[in-house]
Each structure stands twice: as C-alpha cells, then as structure tokens.
C-alpha cells in the first residue's frame, strides 16, 4: 500500500504510456480502414503484420507497461528498482522501436532501421522486466505474482523469437518452416503474455473492485498451470513434432484454463458485495465474454484438424481487437482517472473532486458501443472474406478509438474535473 502522498509516481512514469497507447490504438484502426482489403487474404501479409505490431506493441504492451509502473508496486507493496529514469527510457525505446518496426513491416523492407527498432524494443522489454522484478521478487501474493512473472518471461521469449524471424528474413538460418515459428511467436504473445498477465492482474483487481472476498489461490494456480502447460505443449509440437492430436490437446488445455478463469470471475461476482457494476466493470465483463469469440474461431482445428488462413486471422484479430482492445478501453477508465486524480490532488486539503469526475460516463458507453458495432462486422468480414464488411467495421472502430483517444487526452488535461 502507498503509505504517503509523496510516494505517488512522477507523471512521466505512467501517463505518457497511456497517451501513446491511445494514439496507437486510434492509428491501428485508422490504418485498418486504409488496408481493410488485405484482411480478406492470408495472415502473412506486410500490412497485417504492421498493424498487428502497431496494436500489440504500441497499444497493448505500452499501456500495460505504464499501468504496471503504477499498480505493481502498490499491489506487491514493494518499490520498483528505478521509479523515474527507467520508465522514461522504456517509453522512448518502445515508442521509437515500434515506429521503426511498423514502418518496416508496412513497406516490407528489412534494413538497418528494422534491426535498430528490434534492438530498441528488446532493450525496452528487458529494462521494464528488470524494473518490475525488484518489486515482484519478495512480494507475498504468490498466485498473482507467479502469473505476472511468468507472463514477463514469455514476453521476453516471444520478443526473441520475433527478432529471430526478422533476422531470418534477411539472413535465412531457420530449418523449420517460417510460419511454424510465426504461430509460436503469435500464440506466446497472445496466451503467454497478454492472457496470462490479464488473468494475473485481474485475479487481484476484480475481487478488489467488486468488494468480495478473494477466492482461494488454488483456483488461480489451476489457471496458471493450464495456460503454461498448454502453451509449452503447443510450442514443442509446432517446432518438433507437428502432430495434429498434440495441437488439439494443447488448445484444449488452454481453453479449459480459460473456462476456469471465467468461473473465477463469475464466482467473484456472485460473492461480491457490489452487485451494481459501473461502466468500467460492465465493459470488462463484456471483454471477458468476447474471449469466447477466438475460442469459437478455433473450431476448424477440432473439426478438420487444421486452421484455414481466414480463421487464423479472425482468431488473432478477435483476440487482440476483441478481448485485449475492449479490456484496454474499459480498464483505462478504471485506472487513468485515479492516476491523474492522485497526481493532481493537494496533499494538504481534502479533495473536492473524485476520480469519477475526471471522465465522462456517457462517452465511455458511446465509444464502446461504436467499437463493438465495428469489431463484429470486421471479424465477420475476415471469416467470410468480404472486404465491404471489413471497411464498414474499420470505419466504426476508427470513430470509436478517435473518441477514446480524445477522451484520454481530456482526462490527462483534467478538462472534465476542471481542477
């Protein structure tokens, strides 16, 4: 717990991460509008790779890094290794690295700036992990911290695989088919990093927000083992064995872990004091429901034993754009107003405004409705290979994320609270 007002972080360590992430989210959807037709083809395309990395690194990883700088020391009751210089360095490296990498993918040119970008991203990830490790190593929350620590290991691992793939483009050295490694890289990023981290943080925050007794750690560990055993099995199979049965088994183990996670969230809600959810929590519930979508899109794997490219692409898009995108949108309004509020309140007098005064609830609802209205046709367009649906969906998502981006800027400028 933060013992004193003085320990509130410097603005530079947290808030710029949110701003850049919101901008990257908007740019991703705006560029989807320009490149909607490529989503009806194979997933291994320059623009698809560029947009995926823009969203994953520029938005997902960026906002998680910023939020974890603020939240992990609070939850673990330990300090980061460095609270000022390292976060700013990580922010700069990740921003520059992402911009260079996305430009390289978009133009499918792999030159010195591609590898400079990769080096910047890898350095940023390692520095952030080092910074967090100091706060995580002696903390007591075993289950949650196991998930967060392991997620960070997977992030480093997937970044290394991604770097290897890029080097392989220029100087071929991998013996196994490039696409096999790409699947490993993507799934480690999705399941090992994003899903595991979100499960880890939410296993603590959801009971906290809902005011319910924390469910037993055993339940969280069951999810932890399911995710990691399934992922290791998938990875080994993709690289060495290429067995369809092992693939299906690995996916089933992960889906079972997701089912246990859904039960954990539901049980928290059933045992909560606070049954009336605010918009942030209602939208978080929606993002958990959207996790069903990528699971359903895995159906061909169980029916025909393989994933057609359009289903693979829809699976990835529904995971990132659906689950991760909506949880980012929802949780921004459960974290950023509090962070800005903590930064702006006067420590010598009682605050006249509360965090809820720092944003507009109606706007939160509108932007999510528009986003979902765009997301669903976009995914349908990928599955049905119909570009018209992708264009319409991308247009609505771009409007939604532009509102979201402006909303984030207004929160940071304290325009709603007027303090």
């Amino acid at each position: 717990m933060l013992p004193h007002r003085q320990q509130v972080f410097s603005r530079a360590a947290v808030i710029p991460f949110y701003i850049i992430a919101a901008l990257a989210f908007f740019l991703t959807t705006a560029l989807c509008l320009f490149a909607a037709n490529v989503f009806v083809g194979h997933f291994f395309q320059p623009k698809v790779l560029a947009l995926t990395h823009l969203f994953v690194l520029g938005c997902g990883v960026m906002i998680i890094f910023g939020a974890s700088n603020q939240l992990i020391p609070v939850i673990s009751e330990r300090k980061l290794y460095n609270e000022r210089v390292l976060p700013v360095l990580v922010l700069g490296l990740l921003t520059v690295g992402t911009a260079l990498l996305v430009y390289s993918f978009w133009n499918f040119l792999f030159t010195w700036y591609t590898f400079t970008g990769v080096a910047c991203i890898l350095t940023a990830i390692l520095l952030h992990s080092l910074n967090l490790y100091s706060a995580l190593k002696k903390a007591e929350e075993r289950a949650m911290l196991s998930l967060i620590k392991t997620a960070n290991v997977w992030l480093i691992f997937t970044a290394i695989i991604g770097s290897m793939l890029l080097i392989n483009f220029r100087f071929p050295f991998l013996s196994v088919n490039h696409l096999q490694y790409l699947k490993v890289h993507a799934n480690i990023g999705m399941i090992g990093w994003f899903l595991q981290l979100i499960v880890g943080v939410s296993s603590k925050l959801i009971p906290m927000f809902l005011l319910c007794e924390e469910p037993k750690e055993k339940q969280v560990f069951r999810i932890y083992y399911g995710i990691n055993i399934g992922l290791v099995l998938f990875m080994i199979n993709q690289i060495f064995f290429h067995s369809q049965i092992m693939n299906v088994l690995a996916v089933l183990i992960v889906i079972t872990a997701i089912f246990f996670y859904g039960r954990y969230v539901y049980s928290s809600y059933v045992h909560s004091i606070r049954k009336q959810l605010d918009n942030g929590m209602k939208q978080t519930r929606l993002s958990f429901a959207l996790l069903v979508l990528p699971c359903v899109l895995l159906l061909p794997l169980f029916v025909v034993g393989d994933m057609p490219p359009n289903f693979s692409l829809a699976y990835g898009f529904s995971f990132f754009g659906g689950f991760v995108g909506t949880i980012i949108m929802a949780q921004t309004f459960k974290t950023l107003p509090f962070i800005v509020w903590m930064q702006s309140v006067n420590e010598n007098e009682l605050p006249a405004k509360m965090p809820k005064d720092f944003f507009n609830e109606k706007l939160v609802r509108v932007q999510m409705l528009l986003y979902i209205a765009g997301l669903l046709p976009f995914v349908a367009g990928i599955v049905l290979k119909y570009a018209g649906l992708c264009y319409a969906g991308a247009a609505l998502m771009a409007v939604a994320t532009s509102i979201y981006f402006i909303h984030v800027l207004l929160i940071v400028r304290k325009k709603f609270a007027n303090v």
Binding site: M1, L2, P3, H4, R5, Q7, V8, L71, V74, I75, E77, E141, K204, P207, M208, F209, L211, E213, E214, I273, R274, K275, Q276, F338, W341, M342, V345, E347, N348, E349, L350, P351, M354, P355, K356
Partner: protein, 108 residues
C-alpha cells in the same frame, strides 16, 4: 459501526473527529469511510487523537491517500491536536460493516 457513548469523557472531541471523517471518501466507491464502516475506534490522549481504521483490502491502491486525508480531516477539525492513524485488520472489514446510509449510497 463505531459509535461514541454520551458518557464518554472525550465525547465532544471524538464527535468532532467523527464528523470530520464523514468528509473522507473512498475514491473508488465515492462513499465516506464512516458509512463504509472503516472507522473502528477513536482514542484521545493529551494532544493526540488515535484513529483505528481499516481498508476494504490491505493492498487497496488508494489506501495511502485515504489515510492521509483522514489525518488532515481530524487535524483541520481539531486544531492543536495531532492525528495518529493506525491501520488494523481485525476484525476484517466486510459487508456487515457498512451502514444503512452507506448501503443506500452504494445502491445495495
């Protein structure tokens, strides 16, 4: 919920402190800490007031600020007194601690 007996020798001081604590709100819930049942006890000794209070969870991200504001509220209401805020975890805070007004404010 914490109550002050009319026969308490420090009734007036404690009442002033308690009224001041109604101004301290949990930023997430938007309800004051008295109605949330987080105030467990108040003690007065010489020029200091000891507040025994709890939080909804030990790792509450807003805990530090709630404590700071509880201290400011008491010291503003009672000039010349120093507030000493002590966090306690027994009895554990739960739904039963919330007052009728608190439950109404939370929409329960």
């Amino acid at each position: 919920m914490f109550e002050i007996g009319i026969s308490d020798p420090f009734y007036e001081i404690k009442s002033k402190a308690l009224i001041a604590l109604y101004e301290v709100k949990d930023p997430e819930l938007g309800v004051n800490i008295v109605d949330l049942g987080m105030v467990y006890n108040l003690e007065v000794s010489n020029a200091s007031i000891i507040l025994y209070m709890t939080l909804s969870t030990p790792s509450c991200p807003m805990g530090g600020l709630i404590i700071s504001y509880a201290k400011i509220a008491i010291e503003n209401a009672l000039p010349g007194y120093e507030a000493d805020i002590r966090l306690v975890w027994e009895p554990k805070w739960n739904y039963e601690c919330i007052s009728t007004e608190g439950r109404a404010a939370l929409g329960l």
